[in-house]
Point group: C2
Chain length 200, copies 2
Protein backbone atom coordinates (compact mmCIF):
# COMPACT_ATOMS: atom_id res chain seq x y z
CA UNK A 1 0.00 0.00 0.00
CA UNK A 2 1.07 3.56 -0.67
CA UNK A 3 0.03 6.86 0.90
CA UNK A 4 0.59 10.25 -0.73
CA UNK A 5 0.64 13.04 1.81
CA UNK A 6 1.63 16.61 2.63
CA UNK A 7 2.55 17.70 6.17
CA UNK A 8 0.50 20.88 5.70
CA UNK A 9 -2.73 18.89 5.50
CA UNK A 10 -4.78 17.96 8.60
CA UNK A 11 -6.61 15.25 6.64
CA UNK A 12 -3.28 13.62 5.77
CA UNK A 13 -2.37 13.76 9.47
CA UNK A 14 -5.58 11.83 10.28
CA UNK A 15 -4.80 9.42 7.45
CA UNK A 16 -1.44 8.56 8.99
CA UNK A 17 -3.01 8.20 12.45
CA UNK A 18 -5.47 5.76 10.87
CA UNK A 19 -2.57 3.71 9.51
CA UNK A 20 -0.95 3.72 12.96
CA UNK A 21 -4.20 2.60 14.60
CA UNK A 22 -4.71 -0.37 12.29
CA UNK A 23 -1.01 -1.27 12.27
CA UNK A 24 -0.46 -0.68 8.54
CA UNK A 25 2.86 0.68 7.30
CA UNK A 26 2.23 2.06 3.81
CA UNK A 27 5.04 3.22 1.58
CA UNK A 28 5.28 6.99 2.15
CA UNK A 29 5.31 9.30 -0.88
CA UNK A 30 5.15 13.08 -0.69
CA UNK A 31 2.62 15.13 -2.66
CA UNK A 32 2.82 18.90 -2.51
CA UNK A 33 -0.41 20.89 -2.26
CA UNK A 34 1.57 24.09 -2.88
CA UNK A 35 2.95 22.69 -6.14
CA UNK A 36 -0.30 20.96 -7.15
CA UNK A 37 -2.41 24.10 -6.65
CA UNK A 38 0.19 26.55 -7.97
CA UNK A 39 -1.15 29.06 -10.51
CA UNK A 40 1.77 28.25 -12.83
CA UNK A 41 0.75 24.58 -12.90
CA UNK A 42 -2.61 24.47 -14.69
CA UNK A 43 -1.93 20.82 -15.63
CA UNK A 44 -1.39 18.96 -12.40
CA UNK A 45 0.21 15.99 -14.18
CA UNK A 46 2.75 18.19 -16.00
CA UNK A 47 3.91 20.83 -13.51
CA UNK A 48 6.47 23.42 -14.58
CA UNK A 49 6.73 25.17 -11.18
CA UNK A 50 8.55 22.61 -9.04
CA UNK A 51 8.73 22.85 -5.26
CA UNK A 52 11.95 20.82 -5.12
CA UNK A 53 13.72 23.58 -7.10
CA UNK A 54 12.61 26.49 -4.90
CA UNK A 55 15.10 28.16 -2.53
CA UNK A 56 14.68 27.59 1.20
CA UNK A 57 13.57 30.75 3.00
CA UNK A 58 11.63 32.17 0.03
CA UNK A 59 8.02 32.06 -1.07
CA UNK A 60 4.87 31.85 1.01
CA UNK A 61 4.86 30.48 4.54
CA UNK A 62 3.19 27.31 3.20
CA UNK A 63 5.87 26.90 0.55
CA UNK A 64 8.72 27.27 3.03
CA UNK A 65 7.03 25.03 5.61
CA UNK A 66 6.31 22.23 3.17
CA UNK A 67 9.72 22.26 1.46
CA UNK A 68 11.51 22.12 4.81
CA UNK A 69 9.23 19.37 6.16
CA UNK A 70 9.60 17.24 3.01
CA UNK A 71 13.39 17.51 3.07
CA UNK A 72 13.47 16.53 6.76
CA UNK A 73 11.19 13.59 5.96
CA UNK A 74 13.61 12.41 3.26
CA UNK A 75 16.49 12.76 5.70
CA UNK A 76 14.55 10.55 8.16
CA UNK A 77 13.82 8.02 5.41
CA UNK A 78 17.53 7.22 5.23
CA UNK A 79 17.12 5.47 8.58
CA UNK A 80 14.57 3.01 7.17
CA UNK A 81 10.83 2.91 6.49
CA UNK A 82 9.78 2.15 10.06
CA UNK A 83 11.60 5.13 11.58
CA UNK A 84 10.51 7.31 8.64
CA UNK A 85 6.89 6.45 9.44
CA UNK A 86 7.39 7.31 13.13
CA UNK A 87 9.08 10.58 12.13
CA UNK A 88 6.24 11.55 9.79
CA UNK A 89 3.61 10.76 12.44
CA UNK A 90 5.41 12.85 15.08
CA UNK A 91 6.02 15.74 12.69
CA UNK A 92 2.29 15.70 11.82
CA UNK A 93 1.36 15.74 15.51
CA UNK A 94 3.75 18.59 16.29
CA UNK A 95 2.11 20.61 13.52
CA UNK A 96 -1.58 19.64 13.83
CA UNK A 97 -1.91 18.84 17.54
CA UNK A 98 0.72 21.08 19.13
CA UNK A 99 0.54 23.85 16.53
CA UNK A 100 4.31 24.15 15.96
CA UNK A 101 5.65 25.72 12.77
CA UNK A 102 7.04 23.50 10.03
CA UNK A 103 9.32 26.24 8.72
CA UNK A 104 11.22 26.21 12.03
CA UNK A 105 14.05 23.60 11.77
CA UNK A 106 13.63 22.89 15.48
CA UNK A 107 10.22 21.28 14.81
CA UNK A 108 11.75 18.55 12.63
CA UNK A 109 14.51 18.00 15.22
CA UNK A 110 11.87 17.46 17.91
CA UNK A 111 10.04 14.97 15.66
CA UNK A 112 13.33 13.14 15.10
CA UNK A 113 13.88 12.92 18.86
CA UNK A 114 10.34 11.64 19.52
CA UNK A 115 10.59 9.10 16.71
CA UNK A 116 13.85 7.73 18.14
CA UNK A 117 16.04 8.59 15.14
CA UNK A 118 19.82 8.63 15.38
CA UNK A 119 20.08 12.42 15.68
CA UNK A 120 23.63 12.69 14.45
CA UNK A 121 22.85 10.75 11.27
CA UNK A 122 19.70 12.82 10.85
CA UNK A 123 21.60 16.12 11.04
CA UNK A 124 24.21 14.82 8.63
CA UNK A 125 21.54 13.72 6.14
CA UNK A 126 19.89 17.15 6.37
CA UNK A 127 23.10 18.70 5.05
CA UNK A 128 22.81 16.75 1.80
CA UNK A 129 20.47 19.33 0.32
CA UNK A 130 21.08 18.28 -3.29
CA UNK A 131 20.32 14.63 -2.57
CA UNK A 132 17.19 15.43 -0.54
CA UNK A 133 15.86 17.72 -3.28
CA UNK A 134 16.41 14.97 -5.84
CA UNK A 135 14.52 12.46 -3.68
CA UNK A 136 11.67 14.94 -3.20
CA UNK A 137 11.52 15.60 -6.95
CA UNK A 138 11.19 11.84 -7.53
CA UNK A 139 8.30 11.59 -5.02
CA UNK A 140 6.47 14.55 -6.54
CA UNK A 141 6.91 13.16 -10.06
CA UNK A 142 5.40 9.86 -8.95
CA UNK A 143 2.42 11.66 -7.39
CA UNK A 144 1.89 13.80 -10.49
CA UNK A 145 2.02 10.70 -12.68
CA UNK A 146 -0.86 9.13 -10.71
CA UNK A 147 -2.85 12.38 -10.87
CA UNK A 148 -2.96 12.89 -7.09
CA UNK A 149 -4.89 16.10 -6.30
CA UNK A 150 -5.28 16.00 -2.50
CA UNK A 151 -3.95 14.26 0.60
CA UNK A 152 -4.14 11.69 1.90
CA UNK A 153 -4.46 9.57 -1.23
CA UNK A 154 -4.15 5.85 -0.53
CA UNK A 155 -3.28 3.27 -3.19
CA UNK A 156 -4.33 -0.29 -2.44
CA UNK A 157 -2.50 -3.42 -3.56
CA UNK A 158 -5.15 -3.75 -6.32
CA UNK A 159 -3.98 -0.44 -7.79
CA UNK A 160 -7.23 1.30 -6.80
CA UNK A 161 -6.55 4.75 -5.38
CA UNK A 162 -8.54 7.61 -3.90
CA UNK A 163 -8.32 10.79 -1.91
CA UNK A 164 -9.81 10.00 1.52
CA UNK A 165 -10.90 12.91 3.69
CA UNK A 166 -12.51 12.54 7.12
CA UNK A 167 -13.04 15.15 9.80
CA UNK A 168 -12.41 13.30 13.08
CA UNK A 169 -10.00 10.64 14.29
CA UNK A 170 -11.47 7.22 15.00
CA UNK A 171 -11.42 6.68 18.76
CA UNK A 172 -10.61 3.00 19.00
CA UNK A 173 -8.84 0.38 16.96
CA UNK A 174 -12.24 -1.16 16.15
CA UNK A 175 -13.50 2.20 14.87
CA UNK A 176 -10.33 2.54 12.80
CA UNK A 177 -10.74 -0.92 11.27
CA UNK A 178 -14.38 -0.18 10.44
CA UNK A 179 -13.34 3.08 8.76
CA UNK A 180 -10.57 1.45 6.74
CA UNK A 181 -12.88 -1.43 5.79
CA UNK A 182 -15.38 1.09 4.42
CA UNK A 183 -12.70 2.81 2.36
CA UNK A 184 -11.50 -0.52 0.94
CA UNK A 185 -15.09 -1.55 0.15
CA UNK A 186 -15.73 1.72 -1.71
CA UNK A 187 -12.68 1.07 -3.90
CA UNK A 188 -13.43 -2.64 -4.36
CA UNK A 189 -17.08 -2.46 -5.43
CA UNK A 190 -17.37 -3.73 -9.04
CA UNK A 191 -19.49 -0.73 -10.16
CA UNK A 192 -16.33 1.41 -9.76
CA UNK A 193 -17.37 4.11 -7.31
CA UNK A 194 -15.54 7.23 -8.49
CA UNK A 195 -16.69 9.87 -6.00
CA UNK A 196 -18.61 10.21 -2.76
CA UNK A 197 -18.47 13.83 -1.65
CA UNK A 198 -20.58 15.85 0.75
CA UNK A 199 -21.72 19.32 -0.33
CA UNK A 200 -19.95 22.04 1.69
Amino acid sequence: MIVYFDFLCPFAWRGLELMALIGERPRLVHYSLVQGNHAENPERRNPTWLLARQPLGEGSEFQQASLRAFMASHAARRQGEELAFAFALHLFRLRHVDGLKLDDPETAREAARRAGLDLERFELALQDETGLRQELATDLEEAAHLGVFGTPTFVLGSGDAAYFRFAHLPETRDDAERLWGTYVEVLSNPVRIETIKRPR
Copy 2:
Protein backbone atom coordinates in the same frame (compact mmCIF):
# COMPACT_ATOMS: atom_id res chain seq x y z
CA MET B 1 -34.89 10.26 1.29
CA ILE B 2 -34.27 12.82 -1.44
CA VAL B 3 -32.35 12.65 -4.71
CA TYR B 4 -31.16 15.72 -6.62
CA PHE B 5 -30.63 14.97 -10.29
CA ASP B 6 -30.26 16.32 -13.81
CA PHE B 7 -31.41 14.37 -16.87
CA LEU B 8 -28.21 15.37 -18.68
CA CYS B 9 -26.09 13.35 -16.27
CA PRO B 10 -25.30 9.63 -16.83
CA PHE B 11 -24.33 9.25 -13.16
CA ALA B 12 -27.76 10.52 -12.12
CA TRP B 13 -29.31 8.00 -14.51
CA ARG B 14 -27.40 5.21 -12.72
CA GLY B 15 -28.45 6.67 -9.37
CA LEU B 16 -32.12 6.38 -10.30
CA GLU B 17 -31.60 2.84 -11.62
CA LEU B 18 -30.04 2.02 -8.25
CA MET B 19 -33.16 3.32 -6.48
CA ALA B 20 -35.35 1.22 -8.78
CA LEU B 21 -33.26 -1.90 -8.10
CA ILE B 22 -33.50 -1.60 -4.32
CA GLY B 23 -37.15 -0.51 -4.41
CA GLU B 24 -36.58 2.95 -2.91
CA ARG B 25 -38.71 5.86 -4.03
CA PRO B 26 -36.87 9.03 -3.00
CA ARG B 27 -38.42 12.46 -3.31
CA LEU B 28 -37.25 13.80 -6.69
CA VAL B 29 -35.71 17.27 -6.83
CA HIS B 30 -34.10 18.77 -9.91
CA TYR B 31 -30.61 20.26 -9.87
CA SER B 32 -29.31 21.95 -13.00
CA LEU B 33 -25.69 21.37 -14.01
CA VAL B 34 -26.04 24.10 -16.65
CA GLN B 35 -27.13 26.61 -14.01
CA GLY B 36 -24.71 25.35 -11.35
CA ASN B 37 -21.68 25.55 -13.66
CA HIS B 38 -22.75 28.74 -15.45
CA ALA B 39 -20.00 31.39 -15.72
CA GLU B 40 -22.44 34.01 -14.41
CA ASN B 41 -22.96 31.98 -11.22
CA PRO B 42 -19.64 32.05 -9.37
CA GLU B 43 -21.49 31.41 -6.09
CA ARG B 44 -23.39 28.20 -6.54
CA ARG B 45 -25.62 28.91 -3.55
CA ASN B 46 -26.64 32.35 -4.84
CA PRO B 47 -27.15 32.03 -8.58
CA THR B 48 -28.17 35.06 -10.62
CA TRP B 49 -28.42 33.24 -13.97
CA LEU B 50 -31.54 31.12 -13.56
CA LEU B 51 -32.41 28.26 -15.90
CA ALA B 52 -36.12 28.51 -15.10
CA ARG B 53 -36.18 32.03 -16.58
CA GLN B 54 -34.50 31.18 -19.89
CA PRO B 55 -36.55 31.02 -23.08
CA LEU B 56 -37.20 27.62 -24.66
CA GLY B 57 -35.34 27.20 -27.92
CA GLU B 58 -32.41 29.43 -26.95
CA GLY B 59 -28.99 28.85 -25.45
CA SER B 60 -26.72 25.82 -25.75
CA GLU B 61 -28.00 22.39 -26.67
CA PHE B 62 -27.50 21.36 -23.02
CA GLN B 63 -29.50 24.33 -21.77
CA GLN B 64 -32.43 23.65 -24.09
CA ALA B 65 -32.35 19.91 -23.39
CA SER B 66 -32.31 20.30 -19.63
CA LEU B 67 -34.97 23.02 -19.45
CA ARG B 68 -37.34 20.98 -21.62
CA ALA B 69 -36.69 17.77 -19.67
CA PHE B 70 -37.20 19.45 -16.29
CA MET B 71 -40.49 21.03 -17.39
CA ALA B 72 -41.75 17.67 -18.70
CA SER B 73 -40.70 16.08 -15.41
CA HIS B 74 -42.75 18.65 -13.48
CA ALA B 75 -45.71 18.00 -15.77
CA ALA B 76 -45.39 14.28 -14.97
CA ARG B 77 -45.14 15.02 -11.23
CA ARG B 78 -48.74 16.27 -11.33
CA GLN B 79 -49.78 12.64 -11.72
CA GLY B 80 -48.21 11.63 -8.43
CA GLU B 81 -44.75 10.67 -7.13
CA GLU B 82 -44.88 7.05 -8.30
CA LEU B 83 -45.64 7.92 -11.93
CA ALA B 84 -43.18 10.82 -11.77
CA PHE B 85 -40.46 8.36 -10.72
CA ALA B 86 -41.35 6.01 -13.59
CA PHE B 87 -41.35 8.95 -16.01
CA ALA B 88 -37.92 10.13 -14.83
CA LEU B 89 -36.47 6.63 -15.12
CA HIS B 90 -37.80 6.18 -18.67
CA LEU B 91 -36.67 9.64 -19.76
CA PHE B 92 -33.19 8.84 -18.41
CA ARG B 93 -33.14 5.55 -20.33
CA LEU B 94 -34.30 7.16 -23.56
CA ARG B 95 -31.43 9.63 -23.23
CA HIS B 96 -28.61 7.50 -21.83
CA VAL B 97 -29.44 4.03 -23.20
CA ASP B 98 -31.21 4.83 -26.47
CA GLY B 99 -29.38 8.11 -27.15
CA LEU B 100 -32.50 10.18 -27.91
CA LYS B 101 -32.37 13.97 -27.68
CA LEU B 102 -33.93 15.70 -24.67
CA ASP B 103 -34.57 18.89 -26.62
CA ASP B 104 -36.98 16.97 -28.87
CA PRO B 105 -40.49 17.12 -27.27
CA GLU B 106 -41.20 13.67 -28.71
CA THR B 107 -38.66 12.13 -26.30
CA ALA B 108 -40.66 13.22 -23.24
CA ARG B 109 -43.88 11.99 -24.87
CA GLU B 110 -42.32 8.56 -25.37
CA ALA B 111 -41.20 8.51 -21.71
CA ALA B 112 -44.76 9.42 -20.67
CA ARG B 113 -46.11 6.54 -22.74
CA ARG B 114 -43.63 4.03 -21.31
CA ALA B 115 -44.26 5.22 -17.75
CA GLY B 116 -48.01 4.75 -18.18
CA LEU B 117 -48.97 8.39 -17.68
CA ASP B 118 -52.39 9.71 -18.68
CA LEU B 119 -51.16 11.28 -21.93
CA GLU B 120 -53.96 13.81 -22.26
CA ARG B 121 -53.38 15.15 -18.74
CA PHE B 122 -49.63 15.19 -19.44
CA GLU B 123 -50.03 17.29 -22.61
CA LEU B 124 -52.39 19.66 -20.80
CA ALA B 125 -49.91 20.09 -17.93
CA LEU B 126 -47.12 20.80 -20.42
CA GLN B 127 -49.07 23.83 -21.62
CA ASP B 128 -48.92 25.43 -18.15
CA GLU B 129 -45.47 26.85 -18.87
CA THR B 130 -45.66 29.50 -16.14
CA GLY B 131 -46.59 26.97 -13.46
CA LEU B 132 -43.93 24.47 -14.54
CA ARG B 133 -41.23 27.17 -14.54
CA GLN B 134 -42.26 28.17 -11.02
CA GLU B 135 -42.05 24.57 -9.82
CA LEU B 136 -38.63 24.19 -11.43
CA ALA B 137 -37.43 27.42 -9.82
CA THR B 138 -38.50 26.04 -6.42
CA ASP B 139 -36.57 22.79 -6.98
CA LEU B 140 -33.42 24.62 -8.08
CA GLU B 141 -33.62 26.98 -5.09
CA GLU B 142 -33.83 24.00 -2.75
CA ALA B 143 -30.79 22.39 -4.39
CA ALA B 144 -28.79 25.63 -4.24
CA HIS B 145 -29.68 26.01 -0.56
CA LEU B 146 -28.17 22.60 0.21
CA GLY B 147 -25.05 23.41 -1.85
CA VAL B 148 -25.57 20.59 -4.35
CA PHE B 149 -22.74 20.64 -6.92
CA GLY B 150 -23.26 17.43 -8.91
CA THR B 151 -25.79 14.67 -9.55
CA PRO B 152 -26.93 12.39 -8.22
CA THR B 153 -26.81 13.80 -4.68
CA PHE B 154 -28.72 11.68 -2.18
CA VAL B 155 -29.96 12.98 1.17
CA LEU B 156 -30.60 10.35 3.83
CA GLY B 157 -33.23 10.56 6.55
CA SER B 158 -30.42 11.56 8.95
CA GLY B 159 -29.82 14.70 6.89
CA ASP B 160 -26.45 13.40 5.66
CA ALA B 161 -25.98 14.10 1.96
CA ALA B 162 -23.38 13.43 -0.72
CA TYR B 163 -22.74 13.36 -4.41
CA PHE B 164 -22.48 9.68 -5.40
CA ARG B 165 -20.81 8.82 -8.70
CA PHE B 166 -20.27 5.30 -9.98
CA ALA B 167 -19.32 4.13 -13.46
CA HIS B 168 -21.34 0.92 -13.97
CA LEU B 169 -24.81 -0.30 -13.05
CA PRO B 170 -25.01 -3.00 -10.39
CA GLU B 171 -26.07 -6.23 -12.10
CA THR B 172 -28.32 -7.76 -9.48
CA ARG B 173 -30.52 -6.62 -6.63
CA ASP B 174 -27.92 -8.03 -4.21
CA ASP B 175 -25.19 -5.99 -5.89
CA ALA B 176 -27.43 -2.92 -5.69
CA GLU B 177 -28.11 -3.44 -1.98
CA ARG B 178 -24.40 -3.88 -1.29
CA LEU B 179 -23.65 -0.65 -3.18
CA TRP B 180 -26.33 1.33 -1.37
CA GLY B 181 -25.22 -0.14 1.97
CA THR B 182 -21.69 1.09 1.30
CA TYR B 183 -22.94 4.60 0.50
CA VAL B 184 -25.03 4.70 3.69
CA GLU B 185 -22.07 3.43 5.75
CA VAL B 186 -19.79 6.15 4.33
CA LEU B 187 -22.29 8.80 5.40
CA SER B 188 -23.00 7.20 8.78
CA ASN B 189 -19.44 6.69 10.04
CA PRO B 190 -18.89 8.86 13.15
CA VAL B 191 -15.56 10.27 11.84
CA ARG B 192 -17.60 12.17 9.24
CA ILE B 193 -16.15 11.03 5.93
CA GLU B 194 -16.28 14.12 3.70
CA THR B 195 -14.75 12.88 0.45
CA ILE B 196 -13.62 9.69 -1.23
CA LYS B 197 -12.55 10.49 -4.78
CA ARG B 198 -10.38 8.67 -7.27
CA PRO B 199 -7.76 10.64 -9.19
CA ARG B 200 -8.70 10.98 -12.88
